[in-house]
Symmetry: C2
Subunit: 200 residues, 2 copies
Amino acid sequence: MPLLPEPLDRLAAEFARLPGVGPKTAQRFALQVVGWSVDASRGLERALADVRDGVGRCPTCGFIAPTGELCAVCRQSGRDTGLVCVVAGPTDVLAIERSGGYRGLYHVLGGTLSPIDGVGPEALNLDRLEARVRESGVREVIVATDADVEGEATAAYLAERLQPTGVSLTRPAHGLPVGGELAYADERTVAQALTGRLPV
Amino acid sequence: MPLLPEPLDRLAAEFARLPGVGPKTAQRFALQVVGWSVDASRGLERALADVRDGVGRCPTCGFIAPTGELCAVCRQSGRDTGLVCVVAGPTDVLAIERSGGYRGLYHVLGGTLSPIDGVGPEALNLDRLEARVRESGVREVIVATDADVEGEATAAYLAERLQPTGVSLTRPAHGLPVGGELAYADERTVAQALTGRLPV
């Protein structure tokens, strides 16, 4: 006979689908929920339903947006619509917006190329990007995918695919973190910072 | 203007009430949910509602049980009803049951005494324990709270409170982990293992 009621095991299995949540953590979440008040549990259920019904992806750039509407960035006036920064996911948009140093638009791929995990070009938001570049007067695409194997492969693929459009393609500069100390930077970052050195 | 739709921030705030989930992780969970299918989201909502309506605490021992029913341990025939093991939470019951070496019943306190966090005796499932000991023919109570400050304080409080009932009170043995090496055990464990040494 199982020790725990079936709904509890099922709730743990549902929690285990969240990123980085293993079976042990999922069970801890589910046991915690048993201790919640009815209102607390209803609060999470309602928030889930509201996100399911009311939140989706921006039809232009793929960032998080109210269902069927443009996202907050695409709606904002005063943005440089000729500049598009391509990122893997919505958290990258949040990070760049926090920096306050970017006034262009975004394009969220929804992942990076990873043949090992079966993520090919068709799984990413790429057709829409090509259409934007061809039809919306984009003059520069900044490819801001991460500097890991998948991110670099995605950047290389994008460069090849967008080359016929004649758009200018750039990558963010790699180098020493602002405020960081040379002695504590990793070797590849130091090498990139020296290769990409600028006149004072 | 906020970058993310209001329901997404609200969902993140709800996730942040799970144990060990900070604001960053909660936002990652919420963003993940946006990518889920309608069925996947509904699955979590339904599991939450089913736990809210169908899962509660055992009226006898405080372990997880179907609402209004005895838990799987209390319902099981062949258990030694004269032996009660007191633990802080339901995960302790699961750990002891996994060991396969215990055939008595349990009593789940729902926490440990912690004056700093405002957890006094009235916040724990103690009245019910005292009633069980007085009324249900319990001959031995094993106090299996953790060997940290709160666990030891809870054990001391319990000993004082149950002493008038004349029940036998024990603590699980502390010592070297089975299969563990002496050289890698911490000092307090080694000291406890030597103090509690047994004839070969």
